[in-house]
């Protein structure tokens, strides 16, 4: 073993730099150990004590002393010759920006972020979303397996603060031209989308792009949003927002079959918007091709095409006609007509009951007593035992007409008048006076009749129509037309009653905090979004006991 040293006069290095140099020297091949110190008396003494003895030196404290112990003279001098190199060496590692571990720290680092994209495992997701709402951020909640109770609480709390929670299980959205989660590259344009169906949103937004139009904002709501429990909170918020958004000319509303009560409220909300709204509740019957500003599409492609078409023509603002008040009572003699009316009206009227229900919830408990909106097939066995069919004998219908019109909660009575061979020879002569009498007593009561028949029928259709008209009934020649009319007249009055989501975060650039899947962060980066990734880990390392204490402490505070 040999030892070599070098004394550099009048140089100053920070002791840390010296220790690093020493470590680098010691790791060189064939070097046994190295010492690098400022040549203070104390340091020289330490060197002596630790086996780095050097011959007596004329050294001053401001001199740098480098000692190398190596296997050979050659190795020792090679090491010493490396000193300058090592001193100037800079690490080539790319400066790693700080990756925060908590949402709080990320929010402090990116204070302008209005959105938090969450994709952590479901059982932790609600907590992260809660933190995001507490920080005043909108949430895109990609995670699935979030408790329904948590979803409801999150959405209610967001709604009360004028914040948006998209999801849980929200796969896609497009905000300010930026795709969140899974999303297609679509041009920005004038069509806003609200979707409780992720792939539906992707299909429609892509089709809109391919048809040459573009998307203003597209909101995913998460698949459970339109379930009865959640009540479409996010969809209603998004509709209200798009209604106010000056960059949106047309709105598309897409969902898998929603709960009846939610569909009704959504359509009421859609009708309150002063823009055309294309509705596609997949697999759900529509009351008409269009109702006022609502346009019903039979599929996703048609929804995209309708939206593009509607965007290209100026929109005539909806009439200011106020909806009629009160419930519908349908008194049908024709079973199929009753079912057709039920099918059409169930989208816009809720709750809706019948003695010929399409689903168990619609079952009227007592056919002799209507409740809420009710559609009756008076030709059902329960009514016809011991009497003629109502197409021949009006007695039951007349009695029921009086019963319904005496109910102050009733606002509109819908009936069919089916002419033809075998039917009563002059239906109108019995029905019209009863209608007139009811309307005399209740000026606010509307009566709508569907007249089925031809000019060759024995009853003289024109005369029938004239009598019914005279009595004050509103007449249609098909169930479809009548259903469209009734849907419009009885649409639920709607006013969005929660703090509106401020528009100023839309149309500007997007700033997003990503918590969870790093690939979403990369995707945001690739779209030039101002973003920060949270290096998230399960709280308390996933320790159940500690987590429950932390949760309890949060609640206490």
């Amino acid at each position: 073993m040999v030892s070599q040293h070098e004394l550099r006069r009048g140089v100053y290095y920070d002791s840390v730099v010296l220790m690093q140099l020493q470590r680098s020297l010691a790791s060189l091949p064939e070097v046994i150990d190295a010492a690098v110190v400022m040549a203070t008396p104390a340091n020289l003494e330490i060197l002596d004590a630790t086996g780095f003895s050097v011959p007596a030196l004329d050294a001053k404290p401001e001199d740098l002393l480098i000692v190398v112990k190596a296997e050979s003279e050659q190795a020792a001098s090679a090491a010493l010759s490396q000193v300058d190199n090592l001193l100037t060496q800079r690490r080539s590692t790319i400066a790693q920006e700080y990756q925060p571990r908590s949402l709080r720290a990320a929010a402090a680092a990116l204070p302008g972020a209005g959105w938090v994209l969450i994709s952590v495992p479901g059982r932790y997701a609600a907590d992260v979303a809660r933190q995001a709402l507490d920080l005043g951020k909108n949430v895109f909640l990609y995670s699935d397996n979030v408790d329904l109770a948590d979803e409801m609480e999150l959405k209610q709390s967001a709604r009360d603060q004028g914040l948006l929670v998209m999801g849980p299980d929200c796969g896609t959205a497009n905000i300010n031209g930026v795709g969140l989660g899974f999303a297609n590259h679509v041009r920005q344009g004038e069509i806003g989308i609200v979707a409780a169906s992720g792939t539906g949103l992707q299909a429609v937004s892509s089709a809109i792009h391919n048809l040459g139009e573009g998307v203003s904002q597209a909101f995913g709501t998460g698949g459970r949003d339109l379930k009865g429990e959640v009540g479409g909170i996010t969809a209603l918020q998004a509709l209200d927002l798009l209604g106010r958004d000056p960059a949106t000319n047309t709105v598309v509303l897409i969902s898998k079959p929603p709960a009846a009560s939610v569909a009704t409220e959504l359509l009421a909300a859609a009708q309150s918007i002063d823009k055309p709204v294309v509705v596609n509740f997949i697999g759900y019957p529509s009351p008409a091709r269009h109702l006022g500003n609502l346009h019903f599409a039979a599929g996703l492609d048609e929804a995209a095409q309708l939206a593009v078409d509607l965007t290209d023509v100026p929109f005539a603002a909806r009439s200011s006609e106020q909806p009629a008040a009160g419930y519908l009572r349908g008194l049908f003699s024709g079973g199929t007509l009753a079912v057709e009316a039920l099918l059409g009206l169930q989208t816009t009227l809720a709750p809706l009951y019948s003695n010929v229900p399409l689903n168990p919830e619609q079952r009227l408990p007592n056919s002799w007593q209507s409740q809420a909106h009710t559609i009756l097939d008076l030709g059902e066995d329960e009514f016809t035992q011991g009497r003629l069919h109502p197409m021949m004998d009006n007695e039951l219908r007349l009695r029921r007409l009086r019963q319904e019109s005496a109910d102050p909660e009733v606002g509109l009575i819908l009936m069919d008048v089916v002419l033809g061979e075998g039917s009563h020879p002059d239906l109108a002569s019995e029905l019209a006076p009863a209608i007139a009498e009811a309307r005399d007593q209740r000026a606010d009561l509307e009566v709508v009749a569907i007249v089925v028949g031809t000019d060759e029928d024995p009853q003289d259709v024109d005369a029938q129509i004239a009598q019914l008209n005279e009595a004050g009934a509103t007449l249609f020649r098909s169930t479809g037309e009548a259903v469209a009319y009734v849907s419009q007249r009885l649409r639920q009055p709607y006013r969005y009653a929660y703090p509106p989501i401020p528009l100023d975060q839309f149309g500007a650039s997007l700033s997003v905090i990503n918590v969870g899947l790093e690939s979403f962060y990369e995707s945001l980066k690739a779209q030039d979004v101002d973003t920060i990734h949270v290096d998230w880990r399960p709280p308390a390392g996933g320790d159940e006991k500690l987590m429950s204490i932390l949760a309890k402490m949060r609640k206490e505070s």
């Binding site: 840390v16 150990d33 204490i549 932390l550 402490m553």
Partner: protein, 415 residues
């Protein structure tokens, strides 16, 4: 119902509004509460002789020799084993001590008063580098230096401070030194120079003999750690101001005795939560390796507790190299500490972070939730008594101490 958030805000508000002023220097037995002739204070949580590490044992022996209670190592050990000497943590006597932190009744100590809340904290004088008592050395020269410090340096400092206008504002000094590249724990070059400069004229007035005066100024000026001890007392005064707030989860003490690390929590009274101290990860002086290192030791983690030291790493990028880091790592170290703290210090600011306040008020809940432990910048002691400092680096407390504290908190407040 307790309001933890509010309690934590109160605790940290008290910590940051505390204004520690170095008022004087006096013998420990005259000023430290509960000090008595057979008592030695030591760093960290309570420890018994037979569990003590090399440097801790050495410092205890040295202190007994310094006091004149024992003539040599053997008699000192015999006294301790016979139960003639009480060992108690500095922290339990409003004090702190670097490394072994052994403080004996005759030793001169800094007296720092928090003039905002009135509490006082104490710390012994810094001996400089090389063979020193705080690393467990007790040779004749060590004792001789201690005697000079006690008989010459201490009284001169006491008189200089008495001549000053109300003492030396440690908070202002720290604020300034953070802007000069110190972080207040491992790097105190700027602070030590500021300290020496501010006292120099009064030392000159206080000391008649110019040779002694020169000796004192040389000693203070040469030692880049001179200011560490009054800084530690200042930090103790600040941390104690935040202690004892009902329902607060803010950590108010973190200290190591060379065997265990212990913490105290504001809302949990004077209980210690302890776990094994870690061997620091760092750089070593010539001739030493991690084989030589003692587990982490000293009360100097009071600096981190008060929001400087490793928490202010961004202010002192030069020392991040202790752990083979880059200047970005220094920034990251501070940024990480914001995640487990309640507030940003209104007086200690970091230029490179656009003068953002240092992270202060460690919340044990955040530690558990995020799995981020408070960083500690530390000197590394040789595991054998008397060899001294062998390096410097970074240490982390064991997670178990925070878990214990959280469980105790739940038991106290949530059951």
């Amino acid at each position: 119902m307790i309001n933890i958030e509010q309690a934590n805000q109160n605790a940290v508000e008290r910590m940051t509004s505390a204004r520690p002023i170095l008022k004087g220097v006096a013998p420990a037995r005259e000023v430290i509460p509960g000090m008595r002739d057979n008592l030695l204070l030591h760093a960290g949580p309570p420890i018994a002789w037979n569990q003590a590490s090399g440097p801790m044992k050495g410092a205890i022996i040295g202190a007994l020799i310094f006091e004149g209670s024992a003539s040599d190592e053997a008699t000192a050990e015999a006294m301790i084993k016979a139960g003639e000497i009480d060992l108690e943590p500095c922290h339990e006597h409003d004090s702190v001590g670097p490394m072994a932190g052994v403080t004996s009744p005759s030793m001169q100590v800094y007296v720092v008063e928090n003039v905002t809340h009135g509490n006082v904290a104490f710390c012994n004088l810094n001996e400089g580098y090389g063979k020193v008592l705080r690393y467990g050395a007790f040779s004749e020269e060590v004792i001789a230096k201690l005697r000079w410090m006690n008989d010459v340096l201490g009284p001169a400092l006491a008189e200089a401070l008495a001549l000053s206008d109300g003492g030396l504002d440690m908070r202002a000094l720290l604020s300034e030194s953070l802007h000069m590249g110190d972080e207040g724990h491992n790097r105190n070059k700027a602070g030590s120079l500021l300290f020496t400069t501010r006292l120099a004229s009064n030392i000159a007035r206080a000391v008649d003999d110019s040779e002694t005066e020169a000796e004192i100024l040389q000693f203070l000026g040469d030692n880049a750690l001179t200011v560490l001890n009054p800084v530690m007392a200042a930090c103790k005064a600040m941390a104690d101001a935040g202690h004892g707030i009902e329902g607060s989860t803010v950590m108010t003490a973190m200290a190591r005795n060379g065997t265990e690390l212990g913490i105290r929590v504001s809302g949990l009274g004077d209980q210690w939560f302890t776990g094994p101290a870690q061997v620091p990860d760092g750089l070593y002086f010539p001739g030493f390796t991690s084989e030589d290192a003692n587990p982490d030791i000293g009360d100097s983690t009071i600096t981190e507790t008060a929001g400087i030291g490793a928490f202010a790493m961004a202010a002192a990028p030069a020392i991040v190299s202790f752990v083979s880091g880059t200047p970005q790592d220094a920034l990251n170290a501070t940024l990480e500490m914001y995640e487990i703290t309640v507030a940003e210090h209104p007086y200690f600011t970091i230029p490179v972070l656009d003068f953002r306040g240092t992270p202060v008020g460690v919340d044990i809940r955040q530690i558990i939730e995020l799995g981020i432990r408070p960083r500690i910048n530390t000197g590394i002691a040789h595991r054998e008594a008397g060899i001294g400092q062998v390096g410097a680096g970074l240490a982390l407390p064991p997670m178990a101490v925070f878990e214990q504290a959280l469980l105790a908190f739940a038991e106290t407040y949530l059951s």
